[in-house]
Structures are given as structure tokens and as C-alpha cells.
Amino acid sequence: MKDAKANLLVGLFMLLGLAAFIYLAMQVSGLAFDEKSDGYTIQAHFDDIGGLTDRAKVTIAGVTVGQVQSIEYDKEFFMAKVTMSIDSTVDNIPTDSSLAILTSGLIGEKYLGISIGAEEDVLKDGDEIYDTQSALVLENLIGQFLMSAGGE
């Protein structure tokens, strides 16, 4: 009798541990088993990604519509090549839209923002956004400011 109750509690304890572990894996570290299969991917090249990371969010008008899948160095163009997946429901992004690396807050994480263009054609799987704006790198900004101040 007593043992049976204890065994039940041990079982619940282990289930609780498992639930906590799954919570940490899925919700906290964002590990998804189906890697956004219902989306399409697009790419873009940047001069400087300035601290953008995998799984950074991609937003339109501040709303998250996708995430960065991979970042690699493109030897051919001497640029960074960013591949991102976009939710399949967001299927009307004009081809001449532009892409910028933004920062949430002063020291917050980097993310991508899409500014909508005017073309009738829309981006499809594998397409590229050509109009990109690199991250604002603080050192460069200060450097530019000093240069222009010195020029006057």
C-alpha cells in the first residue's frame, strides 16, 4: 500500500522532470523538431552582419514572420550570405523589398527587418533580396563622425 503510493509519486516526479526538460528544450531554447517545414527560404548578401546570429527573427513592420537559418561567408563576393525562412502565410513580399539588420534596444539582440517595396512580383522560394543595409557598427559610426568633424 505504502509502497504503491510512493511508486506513484516517483513516477509523477520523473514525468515532471521530463516535462521540465521538454519545456527547456522546446520553449526556452526553441528547439523545434520540424524545422519550419511549412515555410520558404530566401537569401540576402550583406557587407557586414555585425553580430547577427542563427535563429535571429525576421520581421515585417515589427511582426516576426520568419527566422535566420544560416549565415556563411560567400567567398565569391567577399560578403556574408544569410539564408532565412519565411512563414508560408506571408507569401506576398515584393521582389524589390529591402532588408536591414536592426538592433532591439541599445544592447539588445540583432534581427532582420524587411521594408516592403512596390513591385507586383513577389519573392518565391530561393529568391534573393538585393537591397540590403548592413548592421550599424558602433566603431564605424564613431569613425565616420570623427572624419566628418575633422573635414569641416
Binding site: 510512493a6 521540465a20 526556452v28 531554447s29 534596444g105 539588445g108
Partner: protein, 257 residues
């Protein structure tokens, strides 16, 4: 100088004996697996289930405090959405394993030492021996294995509860936007380096604390005073071991060298 050498020698000897003790405890296979499993589950009950309340309550409070502190600092830089990142990384990498370990040493470790020490004092361990039953296998092994199983589970629960409670505070009380709370967290937390390293840490702490606890109980002076001293030593040595190991593990896991 001579006393120093002999003190060092004695300490090394103690570690050696404790190592042999542990080795014997876990390498002597049980005669009956159903019986061994029953003992193991009983110990999981007393080591794990009974520690659950303190772990959940502490986890919740630490998560809430972290959210408050993190928010008050981050909001100065307009980055309060990063509170999720701060909360989850601190809990998963450090506070989850370490605080769970310290609480575990105080709650379960001391109980293990006292229990085994009392068994020794009341000749129960001798009694097992005289029955031809190995007390290392019967008494020590299930307690050790149960302790090593329970601590990572408790640490994971601690972190999950802490993050959840911190989320309640920052999202529902301080007004951090929920979407950015989670996305900043998911973006910076990696399953293998953060979640799994935390689990590995707590596993290492578990081995250290439970080993100390059962060994101290086993070698204690068979008197009430001896049990008291052994219990204190379990908590002190266990806590120091956790903090020391944490430094080493953190350097190995997250240090860039």
C-alpha cells in the same frame, strides 16, 4: 613541515579510500534485480520526491528575483526584452545546477549521511554483514544511484520553474512584450551548449555530493556526536565541492581557451 606532509598524505589516503568505497558500492552487482529496483525507487522517493517542494519554491523565487533585477538594469538601456535571455542563461548555466546542488546537499545529502550513520551506530550495517548481505550493495548503492539520478531532474525542474516564474513577473507584471521575451530567449539559448551543459554540470555535482554524503555516513564515528559531525561535514564539503567544480566546469565549457 613533517606534519604538513603527513596531513597531505592522510588526505590523499582518504580520497583513495573513498574512491575504493564508491567503486565497490557500484560495481558489486545486485543478486536480484527486482529487489534492487525496488530499493532504488524507494530511495528516489526519499531523495528526490521529498526534495521537490524546496526545489520548486526556491526556483520560483530565484526566477522572480532575477527577472526584477534584470529588468531594472536592462530597462536603462531600453533592452528590457533581453530579460528573457538573461533569465534563461543564468538559470540554465549557473543557478539551476549550483543552487539545486547546494539545496540538495543540505536537504538530501545530510539526510543520507545521518541515515547511514545511524544504521552504523545501531549495528544495522553489521547486521547486514552478519547475514551475508553486503551493506555496500544493499544500503549504499541504491542511495548513491538514486541521488545521482535525482539531482539532474531536480536541476531541470528548478530551471524550468525559475524561467516560468521569471516570465510571469516580467511579462505579466513588468509589462515586457511576451513575443520578444521568448524570441530573445530562444535566439540566445542553445540546446546543446546551455541546456545540456547545465544537465552535465548537475550530474557532476550529484556524483560529488552523494559520494561525500554516503561515505561520510559510512565512516562516521558510531555515536550521536559522530553522526552530527559527519552531517555537518557532508554539507560543508559538498557545498565547497560544488562551488569548486562549478568553476572548473564553467571554465571548461564556456571559457574561450
Amino acid at each position: 613541515m613533517k606534519t604538513l606532509y603527513s596531513a597531505i598524505y592522510r588526505h590523499i589516503e582518504t580520497v583513495g579510500q573513498a574512491g575504493v568505497f564508491l567503486f565497490q558500492a557500484i560495481c558489486r552487482l545486485p543478486v536480484r534485480y527486482d529487489e534492487a529496483l525496488k530499493l532504488y525507487f524507494r530511495q528516489i522517493y526519499s531523495v528526490g520526491v521529498l526534495s521537490l517542494i524546496i526545489i520548486i519554491v526556491s526556483g520560483a523565487f530565484i526566477g522572480m528575483v532575477l527577472a526584477l533585477q534584470g529588468y531594472s538594469i536592462l530597462t536603462r538601456y531600453g533592452s528590457e526584452s533581453a530579460v528573457g535571455q538573461l533569465l534563461s542563461l543564468t538559470l540554465l548555466r549557473e543557478l539551476g545546477p549550483v543552487v539545486t546542488g547546494l539545496l540538495f546537499a543540505g536537504r538530501a545529502g545530510s539526510a543520507l549521511t545521518a541515515e547511514i550513520g545511524l544504521m552504523k551506530t545501531t549495528e544495522q550495517l553489521s547486521s547486514y554483514e552478519m547475514m551475508g548481505i553486503d551493506p555496500l550493495r544493499r544500503v549504499v548503492a541504491p542511495r548513491f544511484l538514486a541521488g545521482v539520478t535525482c539531482m539532474p531532474i531536480l536541476a531541470v525542474i528548478f530551471s524550468a520553474v525559475g524561467i516560468w516564474a521569471g516570465m510571469l513577473v516580467s511579462v505579466h507584471w513588468l509589462g515586457v512584450y511576451e513575443g520578444s521575451f521568448w524570441s530573445s530567449m530562444q535566439q540566445s539559448v542553445y540546446f546543446d551548449t546551455d541546456v545540456m551543459n547545465g544537465v552535465i554540470k548537475s550530474l557532476v555535482f550529484a556524483v560529488a555530493v552523494v559520494w561525500i554524503a554516503v561515505y561520510q555516513g559510512y565512516i562516521c564515528q558510531p555515536t550521536s556526536e559522530g553522526i552530527g559531525r559527519a552531517t555537518t561535514r557532508t554539507v560543508v564539503l559538498g557545498s565547497l565541492a560544488i562551488l569548486g567544480l562549478d568553476f572548473l566546469l564553467t571554465a571548461a565549457m564556456f571559457g574561450d581557451f
